[in-house]
């Protein structure tokens, strides 16, 4: 049965962030990230303060750290890129321990790490406190074009179904002695992928039939509108407000 990624991202809880309507959370998240990105790269202290704010938000979810860490791993590729930057960038050189590295590259790397971590940390805080369904509702509430919302909703619903189908096909391949060891395994894998695509396409058509049969007219009905209180909005925008203050501060100061 289903154990896809969507089941693991969200963690039940009762904290303020869990209870906050998803659209307010999403606006707060995007505003915070945009403001963090707009802080000039050389203001490392300011970025560090914002990172602390982000970590504070994440800790306020009371989700155990052992759940959080694997999710933060999404940043790893960026971290690797950031660590490479000082070695590949050009410009004035500085000595860091045994290495001679590029000053510009080093600055960029530190800024990238700080900003990237800020974004990942708040995004994880959002993900662990928001059900996939509520994310879709939030997008709908925020007037994201209907087609995109519908696609997002279907992805939430069917990622496990398609994942299961893929697993079944893999088991069926393996049961007939197939192992992917060399390039010669590629044609069967490509054929499986094609079959999966066609099956998903056909399922799409059947789902569409089922929707039309229940009076679908091209727009997802809003059945439970989201409502956020002024206090919840204030809380949702608080990290962004701190980021705004810091941005203004460093630009003036």
């Amino acid at each position: 049965m289903g154990s896809g990624s969507s089941a693991h991202l969200h963690v039940e809880g009762t904290t303020a962030l869990h209870r906050m309507p998803a659209h307010a959370k999403l606006v707060g998240l995007v505003a915070f990230v945009l403001l963090v990105v707009s802080v000039p790269a050389q203001h490392r202290l300011a970025l560090l303060v914002l990172l602390l704010v982000a970590v504070g938000v994440l800790l306020s979810t009371r989700v155990p750290v052992r759940h959080l860490l694997p999710r933060l791993a999404v940043e790893l590729p960026f971290a690797v890129f950031a660590l490479l930057l000082p070695f590949v960038a050009i410009g004035p050189q500085v000595q860091v321990g045994p290495f001679t590295v590029s000053q510009t590259g080093l600055d960029a790397a530190v800024a990238l790490l700080l900003k990237g971590t800020c974004g990942v940390v708040v995004a994880v805080a959002f993900a662990v406190t928001t059900r996939p369904r509520d994310l879709v509702r939030a997008l709908q509430h925020l007037r994201v074009p209907d087609t995109l919302v519908t696609i997002a909703g279907f992805m939430v619903r069917y990622v496990d179904v398609v994942g299961d189908q893929m697993r079944r096909m893999r088991v069926a391949r393996a049961s007939r002695g197939f192992t992917a060891r060399s390039v010669r395994a590629w044609p069967p894998l490509a054929a499986s992928t094609g079959a999966l695509f066609i099956r998903s396409y056909e399922r799409g058509e059947r789902v569409h039939l089922a929707m039309v049969s229940r009076g679908w007219s091209g727009r997802m009905p809003v059945t439970a509108p989201l409502v956020a209180t002024p206090a919840q909005w204030a809380l949702a925008l608080a990290p962004a407000a701190v980021a705004a203050a810091v941005t203004v501060g460093v630009r003036l100061g």
């Binding site: 049965m1 896809g4 879709v136 619903r157 059947r206 089922a210 049969s213 229940r214």
Partner: protein, 243 residues
């Protein structure tokens, strides 16, 4: 006679590729009846079902639902009256939660708020899964998903429930429980099935569709008891089963 819930007269249909699936089908289903639609694979059963709520439009002939002709202008009302439950619940249940899914149909009819919520609760209770409202469809057992699929259609308060292979993939206990639920519903039923014992159990009347034509229409026991007819149209009762 009462106004038939379903009234098909001379319905013929050919797919755009040229394959003729239906050759002048006549079918009448009256309020309160439970009718089984039987036939071998490729007989045109699914094609016929898709005509009942106007997804396919007949090339010739007419479809009328409780006196209302299935035309483009009447589509929404026709789709409220004719509730189709498709074979694979994963096709039918496409919303992230059971509650959203059951609400989808009535919401398309314009219901909102407390009225909508009452509809959802009512429909889920009718099939005995009121406690599953906040679950994700993918996390339900197959039997539960089949029941929720039926609830999604019941929430529209249809006049006729059209079920495509309701017993397929169910374990014997779920199959029996579903029969109890179907019997308890106060709604006209047209049931497409290969499960002939299920037809005997639930439907007093059976219609046999073969190669796009109705070849038999009568009491289920009589139809299934006609050995020549059964053999000619590739219908077989399970080994050891006798009527």
């Amino acid at each position: 006679m009462s106004v038939p819930v379903l009234d098909l007269r001379g319905v013929a249909y050919a797919y755009p590729g040229g394959h003729q699936a239906l050759f002048g089908v006549d079918l009448h289903v009256h309020p309160g009846e439970r009718v089984a639609l039987l036939g071998p694979n490729g007989a045109g059963k699914t094609t016929l079902v898709l005509h009942l709520n106007g997804i396919l439009t007949p090339g010739a002939g007419s479809v009328t639902v409780s006196g209302l002709p299935v035309t483009h202008a009447n589509l929404l009302e026709v789709r409220r009256r004719v509730g189709i439950v498709f074979q694979d619940p994963d096709d039918q249940l496409f919303m992230p939660t059971v509650r959203d899914d059951v609400a989808f149909g009535p919401a398309n009819l314009g219901l909102r708020g407390a009225e909508l919520e009452a509809r959802v609760v009512e429909a889920l209770d009718l099939v005995g899964v009121g406690d599953l409202a906040d679950r994700a469809p993918h996390h339900l057992s197959f039997g539960q998903r089949r029941r929720v699929a039926i609830a999604t259609v019941l929430a529209m308060r249809p006049e006729i429930l059209v079920l495509d292979e309701p017993s397929s993939n169910l374990d014997p206990a779920s199959r029996r429980e579903l029969a109890g639920i179907l019997r308890s519903l106060d709604v006209t039923v047209l049931m497409v099935t290969h499960d002939l014992p299920y037809a005997v159990e639930l439907c007093e009347r059976s219609v046999v569709l073969s190669q796009g034509s109705v070849v038999a229409d009568g009491a289920t026991r009589e139809v299934l008891g006609d050995a020549t007819l059964m053999a000619r149209h590739r219908l077989e009762l399970p080994v050891g089963f006798s009527i």
